[in-house]
Symmetry: C2
Subunit: 510 residues, 2 copies
């Protein structure tokens, strides 16, 4: 494509920054703030026209005072200043920002000296809630530091009005759609209730940029948004929510548009997708042409994940050997040491990059092996790894477990053999949360943690798996309880606690 | 004093705005926001040089998203603009604002167009907490909309550096001290550990203005700050925290300085002090002379409180008459009607003043009378009064109750006669919270509500007073639990819940 000039938009593209993720962790607590500063620093150094964020700027729906404070600090530091903004807005701002108390773009506010406007949709973590339907972005928007757009009011019908931007001879129609529960949006698409409005004049002269925050990969029949649902006239979709970095635009197979999935800028789950190198993008748009320049983030904590299948090493491990557990432990330690070496080699020399890596070794112990004590193993890496407590994850992949029907009778449940029992509880709890989710958005509880937690306890295959699960979940619920506040949510909390207390009671009776 | 001119500072003085107080109340929920707007509107219309706030701008230590949003909206609307600020700062701002990430006064920030700088200390409701010692004001300060000053770091020694302001030939040394637990500050004063630094040159040419947020009236031996503790060189003290409006400066008897107690701008307790007409002040300072102009707030919900002593009307009420309760009820209704008439007459015609008044009739029913059903009485005023549920307050003043020693033996406690019992529980709970307060600041729970709640239950003189108290307190604790989040506070919550559960268990065993 073409060199930067007065007709070229330079847009910094990022998503899922998750400010405040693990903010109380003494080691990882500042990671998100450090990387947010790096991202804004790239924006400033590259003299971008604007920053485009794809949702989940905040990890918590009601971010802590520290997180809001830190975010305001970064935005005020990097996005204010004298460098003039060189594009204009042609659309009706009162329409684009009609939810805001100050329904105009921040850089045109005569009381604010904005050098880098930030445009953001909300994600599922920081979506509007409560009687006033405010979200954390609205605080930034009210403070004049972010332009929150892409909000829809109706739950049945959406018409997306683009923000029309012009720089020299290049015109961008910027469409945004803040996170909506996937099933609901899926239904709206199927029912043809999602309309993207187009500029009346010179329809084909616009570069159509769409930012969305939904499941792109299929999580159940209607629990995602198939790419082909999107309008064919779009040029580029910036897809938030998915954490794996696939930022280089790839063309959809059925339609003409390209998709860029920037991925998160922080590792929030210890899965292979998060181990893919994190990038943000510098999107150049001139006329109808675009180029996505990848910028590797240098302050992201390194993350290495590997799998070991014990049964694949019959030469090394014999389940009948009384010392096999020591052998496994020694083998894992060797693996971890290698991963630590790799992590060290991968460090980029940025003084703000945190030192300790995140390491996860997943050990498939199927085939008659016993897991060793994770506690002791963790102790050894306390000072070398950012996540000593979950460095090892035991699972059993071989001999796939068979799923059965859900059985709500607790009495029966607890009298069954352990494995079937834990499976049933897994289903039961999953089902409970799936139902609950439809009533109140319990995404925090269900999307993260739950699956992993259930897996962990089921994998343990201990006699007291259910009780542990219950306790774990009760603790989770209580933590959750301390985080949310609206009346509807409080009612939900009460329901939840009662549900788990009933579950405990059922167990006690047994 | 003199007319306004280029040598005269005009300062809008207000305190205890308690943004977010009762924000979930469908009737009173917006009161604090409406009045905050009125206050800032007065500041704008009077073209003041700055606004000085005496703490408790926020009612909650962690104000809701709605409250923060609404506050930012008001500040951005009223305090930004082109009118130039006409005073300068002579002191080292890096000292005055050294806790801020942007340690300079907001109106000198070249990226912000501030027309009315707001200077505020924090109160006991919105004091800094948590690992980062941030308070809600710091969010406003980070957004560039408030200048938070008067923070002290040490818990043993305080040296207050004034902000030195000059307008024409008038020079103000502005001292601030954010809220500190009274006992601690009392001790520091007694130990001569509170120093007010003075400008080196022309010491006597400065108007010395001190803003403080502490108990002024005596709540126990050292649980307040005696006026005479303050330095004699001060010219005017603006005293926050006390909600009764005594804004016209009055001279301290021992010392030369004047005190102005602006009082809150919202009724947060149904006591006579809160029924005093609410004002803010327009302080004019020229040279060493000052004038405090009172501005009556027009949007404050009217509040009328009256006392009735049934035993004072032997002609009307005979406790032996079987219909005496109906007679009392009819009498109270008449009283309430008169109060409603008065409230209506008092309305100021401001379209933003809420319509329904707050009404409280305190009925001393000592002398063998029975309280009537508050529920039915309330129902009658549901649509005419803002506080139907607590319109009537029964108490027994005659035959003062005698306080006894604290007894921690629950078994003994519950076997005693009712009155002694409730008194003991009152003391017990008070003592518990006094101890707790020293460990973690539980001011929310202890200062408000608790006293009133205990009184209410003791007054009831019912057999199940203890149990009601326990339930009430447990509910309060749970509400509190849903509001606070730091780890230290969560630990405290657990302690609390356990304490109350133990109390309940003790009762169950009995």
């Amino acid at each position: 494509t073409s060199p930067d000039d007065e007709d070229t938009f330079k847009i910094l593209v990022a998503t899922d920054i998750h400010l405040g993720y693990l903010e109380k962790d003494p080691v990882r607590g500042n990671d998100t703030f450090v990387t947010f500063n790096e991202i804004l620093d790239h924006a400033q150094k590259n003299e971008v026209d604007f920053v485009l964020l794809g949702g989940d700027l905040f990890h918590e729906n009601k971010p802590s005072r520290k997180t809001v404070h830190s975010c305001l600090e970064s935005l005020r530091k990097y996005c204010m200043g004298d460098r003039p903004v060189q594009f204009e807005i042609l659309s009706d701002q009162a329409v684009n920002f009609h939810y805001s108390k100050f329904p105009w773009v921040n850089y045109q506010d005569e009381n604010l000296n904005i050098s880098i406007p930030v445009f953001s949709i909300h994600g599922n973590h920081d979506d509007p809630t409560g009687a006033d339907a405010l979200c954390a972005l609205d605080i930034l928007s009210c403070a004049g530091l972010v332009n929150h757009f892409g909000r829809s009011t109706s739950v049945e019908k959406i018409a997306i009005s683009p923000i029309l931007l012009r720089k020299g001879r290049t015109k961008i129609a910027l469409y945004g759609l803040g996170s909506i529960p996937d099933e609901r949006l899926y239904r709206m698409f199927v029912n043809k209730q999602v309309t993207m409005l187009r500029p009346k004049e010179d329809e084909d002269s616009w570069f159509n940029l769409f930012v969305i925050h939904q499941n792109r990969s299929k999580h159940g029949a209607t629990n995602y948004i198939p790419e082909q649902f999107l309008d064919d006239f779009i040029d580029l979709v910036v897809w938030g929510h998915e954490h794996e970095c696939k930022i280089t635009p790839f063309q959809n197979e059925q339609q003409r548009f390209y998709i860029s999935q920037p991925g998160s800028s922080v590792v929030t789950s210890l899965s292979p997708g998060e181990a893919v190198k994190k990038h943000i993008g510098l999107l150049h748009v001139k006329g109808k042409k675009m180029k996505m320049e990848k910028i590797a983030l240098e302050t992201v904590r390194t993350f290495h994940i590997e799998d070991v299948v014990l049964a694949d090493h019959p030469d090394l491990f014999n389940p009948d050997n009384p010392n096999v557990t020591q052998a496994i432990q020694a083998f894992c330690m060797e693996k971890v040491e290698l991963m630590l070496d790799n992590a060290e080699r991968e460090r980029l020399g940025n003084p703000h990059q945190p030192e300790k890596p995140i390491i996860r070794l997943r050990v498939d112990y199927a085939g008659g092996f016993e897991p060793f004590s994770i506690y002791r193993f963790s102790q050894k890496y306390m000072h070398r790894v950012a996540n000593p407590k979950d460095i090892i994850h035991f699972f059993r992949h071989r001999g796939q477990k068979e799923k059965k029907d859900i059985d709500l009778n607790f009495g029966k449940l607890v009298s069954r053999p352990t494995e079937a029992m834990t499976l049933r509880v897994e289903d039961l709890v999953k089902q409970y949360f799936q139902t609950a989710e439809k009533k109140v958005q319990l995404s925090l509880l269900t999307e993260r943690g739950m699956g992993e937690a259930v897996q962990e306890f089921v994998d343990k295959e201990e006699k007291d798996a259910i009780e542990e699960l219950v306790k774990f979940q009760l603790e989770k619920t209580q933590r959750f309880l301390k985080e949310r506040r609206t009346e509807a949510e409080e009612e939900k909390i009460d329901e939840e606690v009662i549900f788990f207390l009933q579950l405990i009671c059922a167990l006690c009776k047994e």
